[in-house]
């Protein structure tokens, strides 16, 4: 029941996941375009980037207590959530426009300066979308697992690595269906050129993710406050230990780190899927760890004795 552990639900975690992955895809698409050349990422990947950000935004709306009033979240320019909401909007717009340059049938698809402009906006807005959930959480001083700048880096890396993995899968899928797509005659099939370095980029980030996460939990555990230690214990030996170590670190980070380096699209594709799974697990764990507030004196016992919400007396006498 609300009184007990009021926290954000799974929808926000999934929002963070999709928005982060989409943001990461925008960044990768933009950077590779600017520095490595046109067509290094698939049109499908370019398209999925803003779609994922949009999906995240939809989940964010659904998480609201009053979804039909969601336009109001754009109203306070000083609030991080307002900033994030505008950026998601801009990222979605930028992503779709940028994608359109891969559609040869469109008249502006050859306008290079305009395309590069949107590659730049992709990088800027994508970067913000990829990082801002971490920034949002980092400001929660009374949520010991979140507080501090570390969480921003972890979110950024996860966004980029899941974005990279999503681009990899997009490329394989797009490659498999490119002949069909080409036959429609609207998309420039030449833009399906594969960014060969992507698996290595992903592998590098995974290695970094592994090190940083172990370091983060270790620092929290040996950290400055007792409440941070307690919060970290949930991840080391508490009820998060299994999904964190087995799910996220092993299955979602270390195993794909090996797989994406194995030659062959199948192994790489499997690795990329695991990366995405790992990103999802991480978001869920992090968001739910927000229930570990810094408890006030006696508060935990007080709340533990409150009803859970299913008790018979709560449902009785409701007629009339």
């Amino acid at each position: 029941m609300a009184q007990k552990h009021e926290t954000w639900g799974w929808m926000l975690a999934v929002d963070f996941f999709f928005a982060g992955m989409g943001g990461g895809m925008l960044v990768i698409a933009g950077l590779s375009d600017l520095f490595l050349g046109v067509g290094m990422t698939s049109v499908l990947g370019n398209l999925l980037g803003p779609c994922f950000v949009g999906l995240g935004a939809c989940l964010l709306v659904l998480e609201l207590g009053r979804p039909f009033q969601s336009w109001r979240v754009f109203m306070n320019p000083k609030a991080i959530l307002t900033f994030g909401a505008w950026n998601m909007l801009f990222a979605i717009g930028s992503g779709f426009i940028y994608t359109s340059f891969g559609i040869g049938a469109l008249p502006w698809s050859n306008s290079i300066p305009v395309r590069e402009f949107f590659a730049v906006t992709n990088v800027i807005f994508g970067m913000i979308v990829a990082t801002y959930p971490g920034v949002l959480l980092a400001r929660h001083k009374s949520r010991p697992f979140w507080t501090g700048t570390g969480i921003m880096g972890l979110f950024l890396i996860s966004s980029l690595v899941t974005g990279g993995a999503a681009h990899m899968i997009s490329q394989y899928v797009y490659g498999a269906i490119s002949s069909i797509v080409s036959s429609w005659g609207i998309v420039d099939a030449s833009s399906s050129a594969v960014l060969r370095g992507l698996p290595f980029f992903v592998a590098g980030l995974l290695a970094l993710q592994l090190i940083l996460w172990i370091g983060y939990v270790w620092i929290k555990h040996s950290g400055s406050t007792k409440r941070e230690t307690i919060a970290a214990e949930r991840w080391i030996s508490g009820n998060y230990a299994m999904p964190f170590k087995g799910g996220f670190l092993l299955l979602g980070t270390f195993l794909p780190l090996v797989l994406v380096l194995i030659p062959g699209d199948l192994m790489k594709g499997l690795g990329a899927l695991l990366v995405i799974l790992g990103g999802l697990i991480m978001r869920l764990l992090v968001v739910y760890s927000g229930q570990d507030r810094t408890w006030l004196p006696g508060e935990q016992k007080y709340r533990s004795r409150l009803p859970l919400g299913h008790e018979a007396f709560l449902k009785a006498w409701n007629s009339k």
Binding site: Q3, V73, L81, K141, R143, T294
Partner: protein, 184 residues
């Protein structure tokens, strides 16, 4: 301009929960919503050498307001007299403020989809009265007043007694002060 504050004298509080219930009735809250729980610390020690304190909690009406700062809609606001409140029609229930408040003072109303909290009963205060929880307290353990007024009881208590603020290290500068009768 007034600067409203509350002093809670835990030496007097007996943990009867009267303030909790008075508040729920006054604010017409659904059964699962509590603005101002009263927690109990202890008894600590070993029988029969014991100590026990009751800690009434509520919105701290902070000077530095993470809740107001993080509200994306502008529903969470702080008045000039320091009362932090939520303009219900603007709240979309994103729970950002719920999560960012270090004191657990904000709760979702699942019937309305909005977040609600203690607002020092400004409906009463604006008419010259005192918050409902303060009036209801048999023990007079809650003292409400204007901290800018040097003759007020809250001013004297905050400046005269050993008054502390909860989670002071977070820098939120609460305007709810606690006089502890801790450790005897």
């Amino acid at each position: 301009m007034a600067r409203y504050a509350m002093v809670i004298d835990t030496r007097s509080c007996i943990g009867c929960h009267s303030c909790t219930v008075a508040c729920r009735v006054h604010n017409n809250l659904p059964v699962d919503m509590i603005y101002n729980p009263v927690t109990t610390v202890g008894p600590t020690g070993v029988y029969p050498n014991l100590h026990m304190a009751h800690i009434p909690l509520l919105c701290m009406h902070c000077e530095q307001t993470p809740c107001v700062n993080s509200c994306p809609t502008g529903a969470s606001q702080r008045r000039e007299d320091g009362i932090v409140w939520i303009e219900e029609s603007k709240c979309v229930g994103c729970k950002t403020c719920v999560m960012v408040c270090p004191y657990g003072a904000r709760v979702s109303n699942h019937e309305k989809g909005t977040v609600q909290k203690c607002d020092f009963c400004f409906d009463r205060v604006d008419k010259g009265s005192i918050p409902r929880c303060v009036q209801s307290c048999h023990q007079k353990a809650r003292i409400f007043g204007d901290l800018d007024d040097e003759t007020s009881e809250v001013f004297k208590l905050v400046n005269g007694e050993h008054a502390v603020r909860l989670l002071d290290d977070l820098g939120t500068e609460p305007y709810v002060f606690y006089i502890y009768g801790l450790e005897g």
